[in-house]
C-alpha cells in the first residue's frame, strides 16, 4: 500500500528550541488525518516541513512518494497549503484571486477564468466574487482561501487550523467543504486545536503535544483508551463532600471520583447496569438526586488526560497498532 504522506523521525529546532522532536506517522490515500494539539505543539511546523516551506533538521518525509527535501518541485505540484492566515491578496477581488492562482498553476487564461467561476459557485461566493477581499467576513475569507487551495485539484491538501476564529455557522460551512473534498478523493492533513472538529472530520487522529506525538488512532480508539463511561450526578442540595465521596467510593468500587462543586459528582462506571445499581443504592439514602446521566468520555478528556501524562514525564506512547509498515 502506498501512502499519500509518510513521515519518519522528523525534527526541527528554532534557535535551540526543539519545536518538533522526531515524529512519525503516515496518511493513507483519501484519508483525513487530524493533527490535534494545543498551541506550540509543533503542528504548524510539521505542516510547513511537509509542504516544503521549512527544511527539516533531520528525518524524512515523502509526499505521494516524493522526498520533500530532494524533490520539492514534484511535491509542490501535488499539494496545496491553506495556512492559519488566509493566503489571499486583500487588494484583489475574490474572482481575481482565484484567477491569479489558476494562472500561476499554469492554466491558460480562459480556463483559469472558468475554474475561478466554478469554484466561487460551489463555495457559495459567486455574489461576493467581484468584491475586494478586504471587505469579506472571516468565514468568506476561509472559504475563498480553501477554494484557492484546490484550484490545482491537488492530491493532498494541508489545512492548518481552517476554522480557528470562525463563528459556528462559518465553521459548519468549512466542514461541509472539507467533507466534499474528501468525498472527491482528496487526502487531507488537517491541524486543529478543536477536539470536536477532529471528532467530526477525521478518519484518524494524531495527538501532538510539545513536539512529540503522544497518541494515534481513531476517535473511538482514543476514547476507549481513557476507559469507560462516567456517571454524572447532580444533587438537589449541597452534601458534605468528604462523606459523600466516601459513600460513592464504597458503593461504586472506584476511588477517582471528581466533583466540580458540592452539587455535581462524576463517578467512573463500567456500564449502564453498574450506573443503575449505584443510583439505586443512593436513592435509599437521604441524599436527594436532582438528575443523573451516563456520559461517554469526550475527546477533551482524552486530550487532557494524555497531555497531562506526557507533561508529567510519564510518556506513555499509544498507537492504534494498525499502522502497517
Amino acid at each position: 500500500m502506498s501512502y499519500a504522506i509518510q513521515v519518519q523521525g522528523l525534527r526541527k529546532s528554532f534557535r535551540g528550541q526543539e519545536a518538533v522532536k522526531g515524529i512519525e506517522f503516515e496518511v493513507r490515500k483519501g484519508e483525513l488525518l487530524a493533527l490535534l494539539g494545543p498551541n506550540g505543539a509543533g503542528k504548524t511546523t510539521t505542516i510547513h516541513m511537509l509542504s516544503t516551506l521549512l527544511p527539516p533538521d533531520s528525518g524524512s518525509a515523502w509526499i505521494a512518494g516524493f522526498d520533500v527535501v530532494k524533490q520539492p518541485k514534484e511535491v509542490r505540484a501535488r499539494i496545496s497549503l491553506t495556512g492559519q492566515f488566509a493566503a489571499l491578496d486583500e487588494g484583489l477581488t475574490g474572482l481575481q484571486n482565484l484567477r491569479m492562482i489558476a494562472r500561476l498553476h499554469g492554466y491558460p487564461a480562459k480556463e483559469a477564468r472558468e475554474i475561478a467561476g466554478h469554484l466561487l459557485e460551489s463555495f457559495g461566493l459567486t455574489e461576493a466574487g467581484n468584491r475586494i477581499v478586504q471587505g469579506y467576513s472571516g468565514g468568506m475569507r476561509r472559504r475563498l482561501d480553501i477554494a484557492a487551495g484546490i484550484v490545482s485539484r491537488p492530491e493532498i491538501l494541508f489545512l492548518d487550523e481552517p476554522t480557528t476564529g470562525l463563528d459556528p455557522r462559518s465553521r459548519q460551512g468549512v466542514w461541509e467543504t472539507v467533507r466534499l473534498l474528501l468525498a472527491q478523493g482528496t487526502t487531507i492533513l488537517l491541524t486543529t486545536q478543536d477536539l470536536e472538529e477532529a471528532d467530526q472530520l477525521a478518519d484518524r487522529i494524531a495527538l501532538m503535544d510539545q513536539g512529540t506525538m503522544i497518541a494515534k488512532g481513531t476517535s473511538r480508539e482514543l476514547k476507549t483508551w481513557l476507559g469507560g463511561k462516567t456517571l454524572e450526578l447532580i444533587l438537589t442540595e449541597p452534601a458534605d463532600p468528604v462523606l459523600l465521596t466516601r459513600l460513592l467510593a464504597d458503593s461504586s468500587g472506584r476511588s477517582n471520583i471528581r466533583s466540580d462543586e458540592r452539587l455535581v459528582y462524576r463517578i467512573p462506571v463500567d456500564n449502564a447496569a453498574h450506573a443503575g445499581q449505584l443510583v439505586q443504592s443512593l436513592l435509599e439514602t437521604p441524599i436527594g438526586i436532582e438528575s443523573f446521566s451516563l456520559k461517554e468520555p469526550t475527546l477533551d478528556e482524552v486530550f487532557l488526560a494524555l497531555t497531562r501524562d506526557s507533561r508529567d514525564g510519564a510518556v506513555t506512547k499509544r498507537d492504534s497498532g494498525r499502522s502497517p509498515q
Binding site: 502506498s2 516551506l53 522526498d67 505540484a77 497549503l81 495556512g83 493566503a87 491569479m100 498553476h105 499554469g106
Partner: protein, 274 residues
C-alpha cells in the same frame, strides 16, 4: 523508505500543466496582479503618482525657484529633470514596504508552495512599479510644460530622459526590495530606506549646482549616483549630452540591478518562514 510506485509519468497536457507556467507567463501574472491591485486602490494611486509629484514640482518652482535661480522661469529648466528623479526615488521605497507586507501575510506562503518560477513573485511587482514611475514622470513633464518648461532636446530627448529616469527608479527599487525581503516589519523598511535615500537625494545636483557648494562637498556630490543620473537626464532634455554622460547614467542603473536583483532573489527564495 520510498514508496514511489508511480514511475515516470508520460508528458500529457495535464502533466505539463502540473509542471507549472513558464517563467515569462508567471511574471506576466504578477504584473497583472499588481496592476489590478493598483486599479482597485485608485485613490492611493492618484495620490502617489499624480498629486504628490505635482505638489513637489509646485513647491520647488514657486517657493524655492526665486531664491535659488533668481526667478521661477529661470529655475525650471534646471529643476525639472532633478524633480523627475527626486519624485520617483521615494516611490521606489514602496516596492520594498509592499513586498515586506505581502510576505508577512499568508499569500507568500502559498506562492512558495506553488510550482512556478519563484523570482517572478518579486520581479512582477517591480515591473508594475516601473509603469507607475513612468506615469508619474509623464504627469510631471506635462505639469512642467504648463509651467513653461520647453526641453531643447525635443520630444525624443524628453522621452529618452523619462525612460532613463524610470530605469533608474526600477534599479533603485531592487535595493529596497532586498531590504523588504530581509526586514521583519514594513516600518523597518521605510525607516531604513528613507535614511539611505534622503541624504543621497539632497546631496546631489538635482536641486542646486554643486559648483555653489564648498569644493570637497561639490566633488563628492558629483560622485553621487543620483547626480550622475540627473546629469544624464538633464543632458537628454537639453539635447546637449554626449555619449559618456548617458553611458554613466545607464551604467549606474545596470550596476544596481546586477548587484541587488540577484541578492533579492536569493534572500527571497531562502527566506526562512519564522
Amino acid at each position: 523508505m520510498n514508496t514511489n510506485g508511480m514511475g515516470s509519468p508520460p508528458l500529457s497536457a495535464e502533466n505539463r500543466r502540473k509542471a507549472g507556467p513558464t517563467a515569462f507567463n508567471s511574471v506576466r501574472v504578477f504584473i497583472w496582479r499588481t496592476w489590478q491591485n493598483t486599479k482597485n486602490n485608485g485613490f492611493g494611486f492618484i495620490m502617489d503618482a499624480v498629486l504628490s509629484p505635482v505638489l513637489m514640482l509646485l513647491i520647488f518652482t514657486y517657493l524655492f525657484g526665486g531664491a535659488i535661480a533668481g526667478s521661477t522661469g529661470a529655475y525650471i529648466p534646471y529643476l525639472l529633470p532633478g524633480i523627475l528623479v527626486l519624485t520617483v526615488s521615494p516611490m521606489t521605497v514602496y516596492s520594498g514596504t509592499t513586498l515586506c507586507q505581502d510576505i508577512s501575510k499568508g499569500v507568500y506562503h502559498r506562492f512558495r508552495t506553488m510550482p512556478f518560477w519563484q523570482p517572478s513573485a518579486v520581479l512582477g511587482p517591480l515591473v508594475t512599479d516601473a509603469v507607475r514611475y513612468l506615469i508619474a514622470l509623464v504627469v510631471i513633464l506635462a505639469a512642467g510644460r504648463l509651467l513653461g518648461f520647453r526641453p531643447a532636446g525635443g520630444i525624443r530627448g524628453a522621452a529618452l530622459a523619462l525612460l532613463l529616469t524610470a530605469l533608474f527608479a526600477f534599479a533603485v527599487s531592487w535595493i529596497f526590495s532586498m531590504i523588504g525581503v530581509v526586514a521583519k516589519r514594513p516600518e523597518t523598511v521605510s525607516g531604513t530606506s528613507m535614511m539611505i535615500l534622503y541624504p543621497l537625494m539632497f546631496a546631489s545636483n538635482s536641486l542646486v549646482d554643486p559648483g555653489t557648494m564648498p569644493g570637497w562637498i561639490g566633488r563628492l556630490v558629483e560622485l553621487n549616483p543620483i547626480s550622475v543620473v540627473v546629469t544624464a537626464v538633464r543632458g537628454l532634455m537639453e539635447g546637449t549630452t554626449g555619449g559618456g554622460e548617458i553611458a554613466a547614467g545607464l551604467g549606474v542603473c545596470l550596476v544596481l540591478i546586477a548587484v541587488f536583483a540577484p541578492l533579492t532573489f536569493y534572500f527571497y527564495v531562502t527566506k526562512p518562514l519564522r
